[in-house]
């Protein structure tokens, strides 16, 4: 099977073709090694970083932006969103503070500083 993939690793957006044969991926069109790796991953195990917001419980109408430290499996994006939506945090919050410990093998951390 041949898959056309637009590389998103860098802004160049190279058009890649990936040929999958029995779990082995052969990539063409890449201009760097990372592109090759990306196409392979997109075929075998696509992942995405999820960014969203978490309610700050001790501050009225305040939310803090968050992200998954590492990309999570693409198929788990909406489940991750549900977990993030259910989370709460207390101010003060600093960039890098862990909000959720284990979300599909990674953490959700704050990406903004919030004063008390």
């Amino acid at each position: 099977m041949i898959k056309n993939i637009t590389c998103i690793i860098c802004p160049k957006g190279c058009s890649l073709t990936a040929e999958i044969n029995e779990g082995i991926v052969c990539v063409n069109g890449n201009t760097c090694e990372r592109g090759k790796q990306y196409a392979t991953d997109e075929c075998l195990n696509p992942t995405r970083t999820v960014t969203s917001m978490v309610r700050v419980s001790n501050k009225c109408n305040c939310m803090v932006s968050v992200k998954t430290v590492k990309p999570i499996p693409k198929g788990k994006i909406f489940e991750t969103m549900e977990l993030i939506r259910g989370a709460e945090v207390c101010a003060p919050v600093s960039i890098g503070d862990v909000i959720l410990e284990d979300v599909f093998g990674t953490q959700v951390i704050a990406t903004k500083n919030i004063d008390r």
Partner: protein, 415 residues
């Protein structure tokens, strides 16, 4: 009136990087004036990731990228005026700003303009129909969601495939809204490829190229839009009209550099970039006034904004310390397939490499760029593909710039 060496108008990514660069080049009396309560500008509402890969070697979210630079600013003895807006700038570098402490007048030795840009509004598009609630520019909706924590709608149509619109398509989808369509009047998208892939394709959001919103319906709140295909002259094709029910229309139809202050100061503006005409140090045609970031040209990556701001910061520092460049200069011109080239002027014989930034007129496959002055070839560059949404950078080596007297042109050929 108080005096400062360098006044920077705007504390977003451009203003912060320019301040740091100027400080590190030896100007210690640096002031940043910003309209918001905190530094960072528009980055504060860009909670998605993808910032900093080039500049910092890691992928950060907007607030994280801003905090990296804010830390650099705070580590230096740079004065910050928050919640203060510059209301007037003169060519002799008197800056007037208004804030809750009153009106501040500063005589600066040099000024760096870093006001960023604004979004094109509905009014500028002449869309037919009614004027209900529920129509937002994408950035306004982004602010209401990501800074205030509110949802702006449940069924959404997005006009324009600019990056903010694409990012908002994903953001609203993740928050439970249904994005019915993204309409782009051009036959290609103006957004970055990665955003098309990650924000639309990942969520099966249809992108209709050569389509626009023909009419807006609803009295109080938006009830729907009529979308339609357009011909090559961007005129609506009547029999392609169809109604999409929605309560929200986001507009992501272009960014306009905020150059009202620039114009009031009498600084000449480039009609294509809508930013000031500058040299490679990002100095405008008014000596001592510099510009960088989205107020100069709309960038697609913040990394390049920071780069550009460093040029302006260094340039302003040199101007303050030793009067800046005083030699000959030539202008740059956009040739075949090139929409604009920035800087618009290049000082010759400075002994420094000069990078040209440019955008192409339409999407191309493999192209070769040639930079020439008269018959002298100054640089060549090959790209696998080129699109208007992605800025190109081509560097001319210092020694080739020594004896140039004719304009520098950049053109492309398909190969």
């Amino acid at each position: 009136m108080i005096k400062h060496d360098l006044v920077i108008v705007g504390g977003g990514p451009a203003g912060m990087a320019a301040a740091v660069a100027a400080y590190d080049s030896g100007v210690k009396d640096v002031v940043i004036i910003d309209r918001d309560a905190s530094l960072g500008g528009i980055l504060q509402q860009c909670i998605h990731n993808g910032f900093g890969l080039h500049k910092l070697g890691e992928e950060l979210t907007g607030p994280e990228y801003a905090s990296v630079y804010e830390k650099k600013v705070r580590e230096r003895n740079i004065t910050i005026y928050n919640d203060m807006m510059v209301t007037c700038l003169t060519a002799d570098k008197i800056v007037t700003a208004q804030g809750s402490s009153g009106i501040l007048k500063i005589q600066a030795k040099a000024v760096i303009l870093a006001m960023g840009c604004r979004e094109r509004s509905r009014g500028a598009l002449n869309i037919c129909g009614t004027r209900p609630a529920g129509i937002y520019s994408a950035g306004t909706a982004q602010k209401l969601m990501n800074c205030e924590g509110y949802s702006v709608g449940k069924k959404v149509v997005i006009l324009g495939s600019g990056d903010i619109g694409l990012i908002m398509a994903r953001r609203m989808t993740l928050e439970g809204a249904k994005v019915e369509a993204v309409c782009e009047i051009m036959p290609y998208s103006g957004g970055l490829t990665r955003n098309i892939v990650q924000c639309l394709e990942d969520y099966n959001i249809p992108l209709y190229l050569s389509h626009t919103v023909a009419e807006i319906h609803g009295q109080k709140r938006l009830e729907g839009v009529t979308i339609a295909q357009v011909d090559e002259n961007r005129r609506i094709i009547e029999n392609t009209k169809r109604f999409i029910a929605c309560d929200t229309l986001l507009l992501s139809v272009g960014l306009i550099p905020e150059n009202e202050l620039t114009k009031e100061a009498g600084i000449p503006i480039d009609n294509i970039t809508n930013g000031a005409i500058v040299d490679e140090n990002r100095q405008t045609l008014v000596p001592g006034i510099f510009a960088c970031g989205n107020v100069l040209q709309v960038h697609d990556l913040v990394d390049y904004v920071s780069d550009e701001a460093e040029l302006a910061g260094n340039g302003a520092a040199q101007y303050i310390l030793n009067g800046g460049c005083k030699g000959d200069s030539v202008c740059t011109e956009a040739g075949n397939g090139v929409r604009y080239v920035l800087p618009q002027r290049v000082n010759t014989g400075t002994g420094k490499d000069v990078s040209l930034f440019l955008r192409v007129t339409k999407p191309y496959g493999k192209v070769r760029f040639t930079v020439k002055s008269s018959e002298n070839v100054l640089a060549k560059a090959v790209r696998i593909k080129a699109a208007p949404g992605e800025m190109e950078k081509i560097t001319i080596k210092a020694d080739l710039l020594n004896n140039i007297t004719e304009p520098i042109t950049v053109e492309l050929e398909e190969v």
